[in-house]
Symmetry: C2
Subunit: 392 residues, 2 copies
C-alpha cells in the first residue's frame, strides 16, 4: 500500500476497528459483559468507516471530491468488500485481499481450510504432512504412559508442565494452531507478521519432519524442533508458552467475541483429507462454549443474510485476491463473478502476501497480482472522474 | 398491489415495521424510554425484512427460488428503495412510491415541501391559497381581542376551548397540518386513507375559500367550513378535536421517535413562496424538543451517510414514482438516474396514488404509471430467471 499510494498520489488512512487496539468504546470496561460488547459488530465497524470517510472529506482541504478506495486483508479484506457492497457511494472500489467471505454457513465445505493447510506441508517436504498426521496418536500414546506428561513437557520445552488429559488436548490444539499459522505466513522471505520467521518457514519446519516411521519419542522430538522454528526463530525463547499463541497482538479477545456472534466460520477435519485429528463442526458445542465464554450465542447465518453469501453479482468494483498457500483461500472468491467483481490468484502466495511491501524475493505471481490490482484501481479512479465530468 | 399480484402470480406479504401496530419488541414497555427504543431504526427494519424473506423462502413450499420485489409507499417506499440498495441479493427490484429519500440534510431546499402544498391550493380554486395565507394574521388579530379566544373556539367548533397564546399556536399548527394532509390525500375519488373524504377534497375545500378580502370573522368562518370538509365529511363530528390529528392511526408515536433520531426531514416556510406563516428550519430548536420528548438528539446526516443521498447511481432496479400533487415529491427522485433507476411522474397524483386499487376515476396518468411499473417488474423477473439459467 505504501508503494502504490505514492504512484496513485493517494493519502493512506489506517482506520482502527472499534474494540481493537486503542479504540475501546467503554475504556477498560469494553469487554466487561455482553452489554458492553453490543457495539462490536461488522456493521458497526462499516458505519464507523463511513463516518470517518465523511469526516476526512469534510475536514481535509482538497479531499472533498476525491475518490476513495477501501483496502484490507483477512477480516479487513472482508470489511473492504462489504464496505463497497453497502457504501458504494463512499468508495469507488475495494481490494479484498485474502478475504474468506464464503467461509460462512455451508457455502464451502468446512473441511477445505485444513485440507489447504495439509497441502502446504505435503508440498513443502517429503512425508512432512504424514509426520504431523502421525504425531497426534504419538502424543496420545505417550500421554497414556505413567511418565508421559512430564516427558512430553520436557521434550517440548513447555513453560508450564502438562498436568492432565485436558492439558494434552490443549497441547494438541496449540500445535494445530501453530501449523495453521505457519500456513498463513508461509512467505518467500524472512518476515515478522505473527512471529519472526525465516523465508518459506514451512520448508524449514519440514526439514525436521521427514521420517514418519520413527519411534513416538523421536517423532515428538522432531515436532519440537519444528515448533521451535515458529516460536524461537530468534533463539531468545527459553521455553515454549502454550498460552501465548501468535495472534494475541491482533486482538484475539475481540475476535473471539465476534466469532461467537456474527463471524461463525465453520472449520472441520476428518484426518483423511487433512493431517489433523478428526473433528466435525458442531454448532451446538460451539454455541455452548460461546455462552459460557461471553453469555451470547452465535447467529451462524446472519453474515450470509446481511452480505449476500454467494449471491453478490449485483455489486461492482471489488478485487478478491487469494494466495493458493493460504488456508483462507478456501473460503475466498477465486473466480471472476463479473467483469468488475474479479478474482486474482497468487499461486505462491500465503495470507495477503500482495498487501505486503515489495521485496526482492517476491515471486513473479505476486508482482503480477499487484500490478493488476493497481490497474483496476486506476480504472475505478478514471471512471469516477468521468462520471463527475458527466454530472457537471 | 392486489390487482398486480394476480397478474404476476405473486404472493403478497405485508411486513409490519417493528414498534408499529402489534410488532412491539418490549410489549407495553416498548416506548418507555430511549433504552427500549434503541431498536427502532430503519436499518433494524430492513434487517427484519431480510430475516422475514429468508424465513418465508425456507418454510413455504416452492418459495425458495422465486424472485422477490419490495414495494412500499412514503416511508415504506424509502424502505423499499433502501432494501434494494442494501440487500440486492434478496430482492430483484423495488417500487418506491412517493418515497422522499432526498428530503434529508440539505439535499433539497427545505421550502419545497410547503411550496407544493401551496401550489395544490392555488390550482384548486381561485384565491384559495391566498385565503389561507391571510387566515394566520386574521387568527392572530382575533386572538389579540378580549373576546377573541372564545369567539374562535366557538366559530371553529373546537371541542376544547382555546385558553392562551400557546393554544393559538397549536391551533395554527393543527390547521397547517390539516392543509398538508389534504395535499397528501388529494385523490380523484372518494377515499378514506387519513380521513373519509370526497373526490378531489382540496377543490371542495376551496369552494369555501374564494374571497381573501372578507373580514377576519368571515374568513375564519370560511376556514371552519373548509376544515369541516376534512374532519367531518361524514357529518358525524359534533366538534373538531385539535388533539386528534388524522395520522394517529399510522403510529405517530413511533414516527415521532424516528424523526428525532434518523429521519430528520427539514421543512421550512417563508410566507412568500408558500401560504404559511414564516418558519425557518431550526435544527437546534428541533434537537431540544427531541431531547425533552425522548431523551435523544437527532443525527441529521446519518441517513445520507448510510443510504448515499444523491449519490446512488451504482444501484439498480428501483422505480421511484411520484405524484406532482404530493408535497413529498419535492424530496423524491423525479428524474431517471440510470436505465434501471427510473423515475415515474404522475401529474395528477397525490401521495402514492399508484399503490391504491384501480378505480373508475383514476386519471390516465396513474394507469400509465401502473402499467410501466408492471413492465419493469416483469423485466426484473425475466432477468432473474435468465441469470438463474446461466448459473445452472
Amino acid at each position: 500500500m505504501w508503494d502504490v499510494a505514492e504512484e496513485l498520489k493517494a493519502m493512506l488512512v489506517f482506520a482502527e476497528h472499534r474494540y481493537y487496539g486503542k479504540s475501546l468504546p467503554f475504556g477498560s470496561n469494553s469487554f466487561k459483559d455482553s452489554r458492553h460488547l453490543n457495539f462490536l459488530t461488522s456493521e458497526q465497524a462499516l458505519a464507523d468507516f463511513a463516518e470517518l470517510i465523511k469526516y476526512l472529506k469534510r475536514t481535509i482541504p482538497g479531499a472533498e471530491n476525491q475518490p476513495v478506495i477501501a483496502l484490507g486483508g483477512s477480516y479487513g479484506g472482508m470489511l473492504a468488500a462489504w464496505f463497497r457492497m453497502k457504501f458504494p457511494h463512499l468508495v469507488v472500489g475495494a481490494l479484498a485481499a485474502s478475504a474468506p467471505i464464503w467461509q460462512f454457513d455451508d457455502i464451502v465445505p468446512c473441511g477445505v481450510f485444513m485440507e489447504i493447510v495439509t497441502t502446504d506441508y505435503r508440498k513443502s517436504g517429503p512425508n512432512c504432512s504424514e509426520c504431523i498426521r502421525r504425531s497426534w496418536d504419538a502424543i496420545n500414546r505417550i500421554a497414556g504412559n505413567g511418565t508421559g506428561l512430564p516427558w512430553l513437557s520436557e521434550t517440548l520445552h513447555l513453560c508450564t508442565p502438562l498436568k492432565n488429559t485436558q492439558d494434552v488436548q490443549s497441547l494438541k490444539d496449540w500445535i494445530s494452531e501453530t501449523w495453521i499459522n505457519l500456513a498463513m505466513v508461509d512467505y518467500p522471505y524472512e518476515s515478522n507478521f505473527l512471529q519472526p520467521l525465516p523465508a518459506w518457514p514451512i520448508k524449514v519446519v519440514c526439514q525436521y519432519l521427514k521420517d514418519p516411521s520413527v519411534s513416538d519419542p523421536q517423532l515428538l522430538q522432531n515436532i519440537f524442533q519444528a515448533l521451535n522454528v515458529y516460536y524461537n526463530y530468534t533463539g531468545q525463547a527459553r521455553c515454549l508458552n502454550m498460552s501465548e499463541t501468535s495472534t494475541s497482538s491482533l486482538g484475539s479477545l475481540g475476535w473471539s467475541y465476534q466469532a461467537c456472534t456474527e463471524m461463525v466460520m465453520p472449520v472441520c477435519t476428518n484426518g483423511i483429507n487433512d493431517m489433523f485429528e478428526p473433528h466435525s463442526w458442531d454448532l451446538e458445542e460451539f454455541s455452548d462454549y460461546c455462552f459460557r465464554q461471553w453469555g451470547v450465542r452465535p447467529r451462524p447465518s446472519w453474515i450470509t443474510t446481511l452480505y449476500g453469501g454467494k449471491n453478490i453479482s449485483s455489486h461492482t468494483n471489488i478485487i478478491f485476491s487469494n494466495g493458493d498457500l493460504d488456508p483462507w483461500s478456501g473460503g475466498g472468491v477465486t473466480k471472476d463473478i463479473t467483469d468488475t467483481l474479479v478474482a486474482i490468484i497468487i499461486p505462491e502466495g500465503a495470507h495477503h502476501l500482495d498487501l505486503r511491501a515489495n521485496n526482492a524475493f517476491d515471486p513473479t505471481t505476486v508482482l503480477l497480482a499487484r500490478s493488476m490490482e493497481v490497474r483496476y484501481m486506476k480504472q475505478w479512479i478514471r471512471d469516477f472522474y468521468a462520471s463527475l465530468r458527466k454530472k457537471y
